[in-house]
């Protein structure tokens, strides 16, 4: 089955933050009111009640002048998600069309996923002692609707559809942007981490939007998940088995020698 995903074109985004509200409206999330700290972007990061935020980043260079970059930031729905890898409860799963979804009934709030995620996306929700994140509105999509953010986007900066077709459109669009004043325009999410199920059309390099240029799953995660978890654990049964063998052999040998009453070390 084809992957369905969101395409986000920063060159069309006016940062109205409708996506942020529509997300709360659909996912029934309360507000998380924080004081104003000098940037339009009130939340520095997503939180347990805010699955998506729009970043506001200012740049200035002597030639191009001031630019104000906006970036909608949320779960990237990685094809091989680290959150899914580390979750001890198997709360994460991939839908067959590419969304990474999280089952709150299984979640125990351990937050391993939060720190495993190269984008720091799953966030702890204190009032439930669980982690929460963007679902790509899987419930809506499975009923034939678009995700809430894509449906509400006034300018069409967010489009939802077939990943392959959206990538084709993104290529055209990036070529257009490169020829029209954005020489560094690029696609993000096509190749990153083996292809994200979230595609960005950027007017500049990813670092100008606060995106990791080459996102990687932190090295500790595969070491932990692929080596420690499956292999180290065998030491424990080994110890138990050794003890059992010893329990038997010592007694067998003791019966044999009899005189061994006094010996032994703990």
């Amino acid at each position: 089955m084809a992957n369905l995903t969101n395409l986000y074109d920063v060159s069309k985004c006016t940062a109205c933050r409708a996506c942020q509200v529509a997300c709360k409206n659909w996912n029934q999330l309360p507000a998380a009111i924080e004081p104003f700290k000098g940037n339009y972007q009130t939340h520095e990061d997503t939180n347990g009640d805010t699955y998506t935020i729009v970043r506001f980043i200012e740049h200035e260079d002597p030639v191009g002048g001031v630019t104000w970059n906006f970036l909608k930031y949320q779960c990237m729905h990685c094809s091989d998600p680290a959150c899914m890898k580390v979750c001890p409860r198997g709360a994460y799963s991939k839908t067959e069309w590419g969304a990474t979804i999280h089952d709150p009934d299984k979640c125990i709030g351990c937050q391993y996923c939060t720190y495993a995620c190269p984008f720091g996306i799953p966030k702890y929700r204190e009032r439930e002692d669980k982690v929460a994140k963007c679902t790509l509105c899987a419930d809506r999509v499975e009923e034939g609707m678009q995700p809430a953010c894509a449906a509400t986007c006034p300018t069409g900066a967010l489009k939802f559809g077939d990943r392959y077709e959206l990538l084709q459109y993104a290529e055209e669009r990036v070529n257009f942007l490169r020829a029209n004043g954005y020489p560094n325009a690029t696609i993000y999410g096509k190749l990153e981490l083996g292809g994200l199920n979230k595609i960005y059309i950027l007017t500049d390099t990813p670092d100008k939007f606060g995106l990791p240029v080459d996102p990687k799953i932190p090295g500790q995660i595969p070491f932990w998940q692929d080596i420690v978890q499956p292999y180290f654990g065998w030491l424990i049964p080994l110890a138990l088995a050794g003890s059992a063998v010893s329990f038997v052999t010592t007694r067998l040998l003791a019966n044999k020698h009899k005189e061994n009453k006094k010996g032994g070390h703990e």
Partner: protein, 226 residues
């Protein structure tokens, strides 16, 4: 078949572990096992039955955290009330030498029940020293990494990410050690008196003289008397 050696009051006994040491030891035994079992729920897949014993995943998590706090408290108590003991213990561990290496090399045979001639040992033999180095180190790592994982927001993300494998590795190593130690300290026929040393605090003087001659000499022997 006899599981434990008999506790005998009719012979001379000498103190091997004071009350604080024993409290710490047994306190850790309980909290460690609780943490282990509740923690294994996450480490192993498909152990819902184990979670069910503790009343589900959430209460297992709660028990894990409470036990961990007590585990920490025992360490603190130990440090506060028996600092001298710790110093002596560490000193003894650090005196790891030739005799200890020979002990460890020969140990597997003894483990299986063969008669082996061991070199004289200090308060702790080579195996115990190994255990004394590894297990507390692992426990400290478990405690530290555990708190990092409990309060991830208070630590740098890199440290949090390291904490997970560290917690796991420390858990595996310490569990390995605990299994061995638990067996040797109780059901291994040779352990004999050492169990009572930790349970009641005293061991038979003759046993001490035989198994830990150097320590016995230093503590209860003539040298001490001087």
């Amino acid at each position: 078949m006899q599981l434990l050696t008999e506790y005998r009051e009719d012979v001379e006994r000498v103190e091997r572990f004071n009350f604080v040491s024993r409290l710490t030891h047994w306190g850790h035994t309980v909290t460690f096992l609780l943490c282990l079992l509740t923690g294994l729920i996450l480490f192993l897949d498909g152990v819902d039955w184990l979670a069910a014993i503790f009343g589900g995943y959430n209460s297992a998590g709660l028990i894990h955290r409470i036990s961990a706090v007590f585990m920490t408290l025992f360490i603190i108590i130990f440090i506060i009330f028996d600092f001298k003991g710790i110093k002596a213990w560490i000193k003894d561990i650090l005196s790891f030498g030739k005799n200890d290496i020979i002990f460890i090399l020969k140990f597997p045979l003894e483990f299986l029940g063969f008669e082996v001639k061991m070199p004289p040992q200090t308060r702790f033999n080579g195996g115990e020293k190994g255990n004394s180095i590894l297990t507390p180190t692992c426990v400290i790592l478990l405690v530290l990494s555990g708190y990092i994982m409990w309060f991830p927001a208070a630590f740098p993300p890199g440290l949090v990410r390291v904490a997970y494998p560290v917690h796991d590795i420390a858990m595996i190593l310490s569990t390995f050690m605990v299994c061995m130690h638990g067996y040797l300290g109780s059901f291994h026929p040779g352990s004999g008196e050492s169990f009572w040393g930790m349970w009641k605090g005293t061991v038979r003087a003759d046993w001490a003289k035989h198994h830990h001659p150097i320590w016995y000499e230093e503590t209860y022997g003539e040298k001490k008397a001087e």
